[in-house]
Symmetry: C2
Subunit: 305 residues, 2 copies
Amino acid sequence: MKFEVTILGSSSATPIFNRNPTAQVLNINEKLYLVDCAEGTQQQMLRFDVKASRIDYIFISHLHGDHYLGLVGLLSSMHLNGRKKALKIFCPPPLKEIIDLQLKYSETTLNYPVEFVFTDAATKGVILENQDIFVETIPLDHRIPCTGFLFRQKKRLKKLIKERVEELQIPIPYYAALKKGNDYQSPDGTVYQNNTLTMEPPEPKSYAYISDTLYSDKYLAYITPVTMLYHEATFLNDMLDRANQTHHTTALQAGEAAIKVKAEKLIIGHFSARYKTLNELLEEAQSVFPNTELAVEGKTFVISE
Amino acid sequence: MKFEVTILGSSSATPIFNRNPTAQVLNINEKLYLVDCAEGTQQQMLRFDVKASRIDYIFISHLHGDHYLGLVGLLSSMHLNGRKKALKIFCPPPLKEIIDLQLKYSETTLNYPVEFVFTDAATKGVILENQDIFVETIPLDHRIPCTGFLFRQKKRLKKLIKERVEELQIPIPYYAALKKGNDYQSPDGTVYQNNTLTMEPPEPKSYAYISDTLYSDKYLAYITPVTMLYHEATFLNDMLDRANQTHHTTALQAGEAAIKVKAEKLIIGHFSARYKTLNELLEEAQSVFPNTELAVEGKTFVISE
């Protein structure tokens, strides 16, 4: 099952020419999940051929502009482009008020339904479950209420060992039960253990999106273990005081976080505009966690094939 | 006195890859006046080296997203970049409510003063006068309250004919009176007519910004005559019905408008995303008004040297 993330924006609030503020899009089994939606996200989607019509879910971590100011424009464009199917937005409660006010004064009534699911920045909890995944909110510690999001694949069914199943001439109606783990009793009364007829499915993979936060063990505990960790790394560690003061983290801390949560891979992003080039941030994170990559606009990272 | 406009965005609401929604910036005597501020305007300013710190005035024509959704981000960035000097925003009244709500939930108190001057879409009137210009609102006919803006240079002082003034040994303290048009009486009682001592200043130039509107003679009368006309041209004239229905204009109508207002030059913009290339729009406007150019991102048009 496809499970990958494409970076649409990698910068923090102050604008910088060659980077966009935060947004990324997950493709999970050919459904698109937009995570944060800074100003310019629509243009980035056009640039990287991400179809807005394929987005069913939008997640907004918090109400600093560099994480949501592109949302009203995107909703309007979906309307102008004739969208009819429902959209679910997971966000802090005031975002509905902000959107409603802007639609009111532009005298726009969206011609598709929007369902809001309000996040609570104080509690960890499942906010979405569908056939492919669970999504949980992760309470973070920022200057205003802020949540990360943990995307976890559902455990899939076991796979039949085809030759064995055919050899025993097990009737097709039994297959579903076998995939769920049941044993098989043949007409002559012989019992075949499930593990002789099936293979375990691949372990579910997971992706944690840790947007703006002060470093703490608390949120790391919530996401351990995780396959791929996206973690903000606004500053280099020589600016740790500034990071603490603004409730952000450093590239070094992001690397340490990746170790603690037993991640296979770390993506760092949300870079301060003071860094014209990003090598130092990458090297600092890699000094503690070698399998680190930079969030770069347009780049896709595969969490599971 | 420098008087020029740089295009930052030329498209209408539906996004298109290679164009940005509407924004432009006037440089009048080295002061910057931002006119509309669609999503992505900040990035466009970085791209074309327009310094946000030099903007003292922002004008918003109406509250459709493709004309103002970049404003809150721009205000936040000015704040983050340490702006202290005051900013004046001329806009429909609800925009203050929208901005205040977004700043409230991001817990941001701007560290510079913002003065709002509310436009009234029903009346023509001067909303700004400073040493260089007058700015007037132009009532337009769109689906929601909408104003255009007319920028008119002030009439400058007369220029002294230096050789003549020196020949007559006119004392310097008299110069200011001569520039204003007074005659000069020499100590021997001879009166010298002002027009023998000074030259007329150049005629004041003007720029009209006609954003979204149904075509009508009414707003054209308000801006006649004008040096340079920016006029929306959302559609080709074969879509006149659609233009009328959505309260927009066609490239042909923009050309006709330029004739009526006795413009020297016409700039057309606000192109629908349906037009991947713009030649047809340009040719249609030029068929009635040859001195037409396309609003193209990054292009600067000189209204007066």
